[in-house]
Each structure stands twice: as C-alpha cells, then as structure tokens.
Amino acid sequence: MKVPFSPPTLKIGSSKNQLCHPAKEKDMVKIDLPKERLPDWKEAMLKKMAEVLDKYRSVRLFLDICVKCGACADKCQFFLGTGDPKNMPVARADLLRKVYKRYFTLGGKIWGRANESEELNEAVLQEWFTYFYQCSECRRCSVFCPYGIDTAEITMAAREIMAAAGIATKYVTEVVAKVYDTGNNLGIWAPAWKDNCAFLEEDLKDTEGLEVKFPVDVVGADVLLVPPSADNFVNTDTMIGYAKMFHAAGISWTTSTYCNEGGNFGLFLNYANLKKINNRILEAARQLKVKKVYWGE
C-alpha cells in the first residue's frame, strides 16, 4: 500500500536533548585546536565568524538572501525524522543568522530582537552545538531552494567557528586525530593493513584459486588506490573486487600505509584539517611515485 507523504507536525524541542559527546583533550591537541573551551570563547567565536564571513561568499550570501519561503523545510530528513522545527534547514541556518544579524548587520544592531537578532550567549551556543551536529551536510535542501541556499555551508561555517573556540564533538575529532596517527579513520595500523592484505590474498587463493596480489607501499606502481578504509576491514568483498579488477586490467597498483582512507572527516570539522587530510593523499602519491590516484568514498 502506498502511504501518502505528509511532513510531521512540529514537536518543539523534541531533539534538543540528543547531544553529541564533547571532544576529548587528547584529540583536540593533536588536531591543532584549543584543548578545551576557551575562557573567552565568545570573542574567539565572533573573531572566527568575521573571518569566515570574509572568506566564504556562500556563507555571507546565504545568510543575507533567504526569504524563508519554507520550500526546504519538509526536505530535511532530520526534520522529517524528529519533527523538531529547529531541524528545518531554514531554522538551522537561522541559528547562525540571528548571531550574524546582531553583530554584523546594521538592522540587527539597531532593531535588536525585532529583527530576529540575538546575542551570542550560552543558550545560543548550546543550540548551535545541538543542531549543527544534527545536520549530515547532505545538501538536499540546496536542491529545492530557489536560490540554491546550501545549509551544509552554514553548518560547516558554524562548526568551524565553534572549533576555533575549542568546541567540537568526540566522534569527529577522534576520527580526525586517528588519521594523523594511522592514516585512516578506523585506526588500522600499518602492520595490520599489510596483514589484512596478505590475508585477502590467501583467502582468494583458497576459495577461488586465484593468484591476485594486494600490493602495499610499492614504489613506482602506476596507480595508488585510496579506498574507504572499511573496505580492507569490513567490506572486504569490495577490496577483493578492486584487486580482481586491477589484476584483470593488468594495471600495477598499490595501497599506502601512510594514507589508506578516502573519507575525510575534516569536512565535518574545519578547513585546516580538511586540507591536511587531503594533503596526505598527495604526499603518499609523491612518495610512491605513482602516475594516478584512484580515490573513492
């Protein structure tokens, strides 16, 4: 039976208690962020916000031109799932917009709350931490917005601003820190990576009788494969598939123990880490002197 789609009725505050765990000091230090929330977090956040507004046209524009038509409202899966109105893309962006209006626009400075502007305070910060981490940056809202307003850009800006003041989540920071330690999100150390590859080689020989190699750290191969690290650990059929494909095509290839992760959690944190993690792919490619990088996630 086909059930007609209907957006949920508003359940105000229904997901406000679904919080992420705060980041741990050991991870924050490794990824060049303040180890805990700064004592002058408000000033740090406003300083970062001014910087972000001057660096990203998208953020400034999207905060300025939203007409609140509501076309995005029933498109966000987080709103559809929770019914919490603050999970509507427009309302999520409003969390940043009201602070932007208060400190960076003439109208907000003059009219104050009548112009829906708000001081950056503890309560606002709490909402930011809650709702900007309930966005998966999927950009579905931007497909339906008549101006292409992309709430993922707003979410990324808000997370960058919070990170600058030492506010982030455990999940994201832990994964990013893990990449710098082991080269991948899952924390697979180099010996384990090599062992997994050797195991897959044997397994393939035993089950299918195929002599397919899973080369690791081979200097001078043609192709560096940067798979999602889970392919070597959980979804091993995918890894076997890559190897078979390269084997059949006769392409010399290798994985790297320095960089064996296609996913980049810097996207969920800040630009510096996003870039640093991507740089690892280039460094690995240079050190291995490969001609091409195949890179998926």
């Binding site: 829906e116 497909v143 339906f144 290839w253």
Partner: protein, 264 residues
C-alpha cells in the same frame, strides 16, 4: 512643506538609499572570495548551460517547482504580475512612451488587479501552516504587507479615485530631469507614492535582496568542470603537529622488489 518633502526630497533620498544600498550589497558579495566548488547537482558543465540554468532560475524557479507546487504557483504568479505592473509604470518615465509599453498597458493593468491574490495566498500560507509560521519573522510580514498596501492603493487609484495622469507624469519627469515640481495630488496618490519610497528604502536592507543575490549564488553560478583545477584564493599551507604519531617523514615505503606489485 510636507508635500515638498514627500514629492521632492524623499524621492531623491530613497532613490539614493536604494541605489547605493543595492550596489553596496552587490559589492560586498562580489569581493568575498569563493573558496570551493559547491555547485548543486545536476550541475551544468559549460558556461552556456550555466547561463541557461540561471535564466531558468530567474524566470520560472525550477527548484521551487520541484519542492513545493502550490508555493511555486503563487510565487510565479506573483513575480510575473509584479514584472508586468512595473513595466506598465514605465509610461510615466518616458516621453514619448515607447511603442511596446503602450502595447502592454492592458496586460499590466490586469496583472495589477490580480496581484493581491498570490500575495494573500503567500500571507495565508505563513499564518496557517504551522512550520511556516515558525520560521516567519517580522521582516517577512512587513514585506508582504508593504507590497500588498502598494498594490491595493494602486488599484484604488486606478479604479475609484483616479489621479490626473498628466500631473503624475509631470511629477516623475520633473524628478528625473532635476526640475521637480510640487503637484496637487490626492491623499491616496500621496500614500501610494510614499509606500513606494518606503519599499525602495527597505529593499537593500532586508531579504528583498534575493532579487540580485541569486546571481552570486555559488551553488547555481558555477560549472562542474572537474578537469580544471579550482584555486582557492586564500589557501594556506598546513603544517604537522609534533604530536602526530605518523608524520610524513616516518613513512618509508619499501622499494619495488621487496613487495610484488603486478608490473609487466
């Protein structure tokens, strides 16, 4: 004095605020760099297709059509009528009146009669639908009521309390040629005129800037030419943290002989 202020000083002040305000907003957006390629899928691959996409976005709002059919209908109807009404008013700005402006007069007139209907729908939508009421702010209602007031005063001027068109034209041509005259006008015309001035002042301050802002929208005006490198103007080098357990200098890949890569 009041009439002199309304018909002479205020038009210049509001036109100044409108022009400078809009230019300032454009300049502010234009000088902010675009660091990343964030074009929304399905993405155009050539400049011609980008232009076609933008023309579509400006004229018939295809994204909104995908998102919300009723809202699209009201928005399209409203913006279409608004264009026709604005074009119809061009007859006050030109002497002699261009042929095509004369030709579209009836069309503009009917558009003017109809414009309160989509406006009323947009207003009702904000008030009746709970999630739209939640996101609506004062500025949204202000803009709606302002345009509604302009439209209704305009319709009343056309139908019941007609202004003497020659005087209106003398007023506007006088303003354009910097030889303003203070006309004898009804209070209704004064109100219609005042509301337009308010709209012009409010335009660059609030969300009405969506009109020009669309052209700056990175998700819509970019190309998906992945072959070409996109350079971030404010890119910076990233260094390594001494606490990282696996910095690049520790990475020593084995030479080709020691491990077998398939190489023929």
């Amino acid at each position: 004095m009041a009439t002199k202020f309304l018909f002479i000083y205020l038009p210049y002040i509001s036109a100044g605020i409108f022009t400078l305000g809009v230019l300032y907003r454009f300049w502010r957006w234009a000088r902010t760099p675009v660091p990343l390629r964030i074009v929304t899928t399905p993405a155009p691959r050539t400049t011609v297709r980008v232009i076609l996409r933008m023309v579509g976005d400006v004229l018939w709002f295809p994204s909104l059509f995908k998102g919300d059919k009723f809202l699209w209908l009201a928005a399209f109807f409203f913006h279409g009528c608004l264009w026709l009404v604005v074009l119809r008013h061009l007859r006050f700005f030109f002497y002699p009146v261009p042929e095509w402006v004369v030709a579209m007069q009836p069309l503009g007139l009917y558009a003017g009669y109809l414009i309160p209907f989509p406006l009323a729908f947009l207003l009702a939508r904000r008030l009746v639908m709970e999630r739209n009421l939640y996101i609506s702010i004062l500025g949204d209602f202000f803009a709606l009521f302002l345009i509604m007031a302009v439209a209704i005063s305009g319709i009343l001027l056309e139908v019941f309390f007609r202004a003497y068109v020659v005087d209106v034209k003398a007023l506007i041509l006088g303003l354009i040629h910097f030889q303003p005259v203070v006309p004898e006008m009804s209070w209704l015309f004064a109100l219609h005129f005042l509301l337009i001035m308010v709209l012009m002042v409010y335009f660059p301050l609030g969300k009405l800037m969506h009109a020009g802002g669309l052209f700056f929208s990175s998700t819509r005006n970019q190309r998906a030419n992945w072959e070409q490198r996109f350079v971030n103007p404010w890119d910076f080098p990233v260094g390594y943290n001494p606490q990282n357990l696996f910095p690049p200098e520790k990475y020593r890949p084995a030479p080709a002989e020691s491990r077998e890569g398939k190489k023929e």
